[in-house]
Symmetry: C2
Subunit: 315 residues, 2 copies
Amino acid sequence: MKSEEAFLGFIDEFFPNKHDFLVLGRGDDCAVLKADKDYCVSSDLFLEDVHFRRDYFSPADIGYKALAVNISDIAAMGAKPVAFTMDLMAPADVDDDFWREFLKSMSMLARQNDIVLAGGDLSRADRIGVSISIFGVSGSTGFIRRGNCSYGDILFTIGDIGLARAGMMSLEAVGEKARETLPAAVMAHLRPKPKIMIGTLLNAAGVKALMDVSDGLARDLPRLLGPDLGADLTLDASMLNSNVITFAETIGIDPVEFAVLGGEDYALLGAVSPFEAGKAESVPGFTRIGTVTRTPGITLNGQPFTAEGFDHFSQ
Amino acid sequence: MKSEEAFLGFIDEFFPNKHDFLVLGRGDDCAVLKADKDYCVSSDLFLEDVHFRRDYFSPADIGYKALAVNISDIAAMGAKPVAFTMDLMAPADVDDDFWREFLKSMSMLARQNDIVLAGGDLSRADRIGVSISIFGVSGSTGFIRRGNCSYGDILFTIGDIGLARAGMMSLEAVGEKARETLPAAVMAHLRPKPKIMIGTLLNAAGVKALMDVSDGLARDLPRLLGPDLGADLTLDASMLNSNVITFAETIGIDPVEFAVLGGEDYALLGAVSPFEAGKAESVPGFTRIGTVTRTPGITLNGQPFTAEGFDHFSQ
């Protein structure tokens, strides 16, 4: 890929430049998004050797996950993604085949979710990096925020916790062999599934608070609760994917504790009033994990739980 | 700066989290922007050793320019910026003082333009990198696009061409000494001034096409004209900043040719009908550079001009 123009040709090959929400598409100083509804907006980085490794992520995995983690932030608002912009860092030694697979895979995920690529930038860099900003809209029930919980609310997750971390640690430890021993965990790390439909159903079901679990339940739960409330969690191994149990036992850690520490789960974590929980409980994957308490602090199966999930930044 | 939380504290110190266009601010999975008017959207990368060097860019220069180049894309639509998101790559060896100066300088530019920081992401990386997405709105006259020119239209620039490139090349060649010999050129490279007010005036004045000159006039003019039209340019050295003339003569290149090749000018380039040029001509800095011709191809002072401005990506 010798020039910016050649790369833009690639982009046009895979990404349509029309969408109901796009008044003006790629190719001008700015794209223009229609002012139909309020837009929710999120930005995420996806960087080589920080968030992924070329050792075990295929070009298609990288293209997929860079967009998937952004879609997940839209799902956590109970919203639907419509458009994104992408800033791409492209080392000179990465060949055309890599970018073709990367863009093809990303474009398939975009098409599945009816999201248009509305612009971006391209630059040389030492390592591959993707910065995506994504835009979503919601239906008549608006967006679901964090921090809107009350004492007695039911806490729930949808999606596996700890599974992606088991996959990542296993890939780091034994490489490709992990695909045979822990296939679900490896896929949870390489190809997290954004939960747009689930988020929309939870929104219609009247849940009070919702967020994306990206730093692990232990770190993210206090962010859902805010500074004034706490939680009593009740979790047992039967609620976990068997790959989490296998991996945690291999490294000699209690599987429930491993799952709660988690990281990059891209599960949804929410709260719903016990008086209005019926509809939410019927959403596929709804797993009750505990209740909101009057005072700050978290207990796990009756024991104070103070450990922190991982901090991508300090590590 | 030891943790993501500490960095977010820094951000909150410098950037307010309220704005007329912000329904929900930083701190949730997404921010929410009000659906008042169509939004124009642009994204740009600003990377260490590609777009800037720490040798001669101060932390305040880096923070300023990372946002300024994005604001310039909004100016080129004849629009007004309202919000931006920032993904930041932060090497472990960059200290708190650096980030304080970086954020303070960026926040001053944001405040001057009434732009709110609506979210972002933070990650470790080997080199400093900034990816910004910016959102703007326009008045009753809408957005000014590219490619809307006709035969006979007057072509104009507002802002110095070639000046930033003279500054960059001089800083690369002689380092800090360049500040004494070519102060205007150095400032054009370190602190380009986004032309929001000018863009708004040009919009009200009814110009037909407008764009941001970021890759040099020679490369960007065909993008303004589109595939079916050309241009006859008439430029002489009296239209150039004296620093461009000094520098071009030092390296033995014709100053006009050097200026037309340019790069990172962040000047505005536009077209206006000769029958409606009166208002546009009175906008400060309006410099007539030529006219649109019936067939593709550019002439400069009567000679065919085929040289290309620089391609950030292929170099």
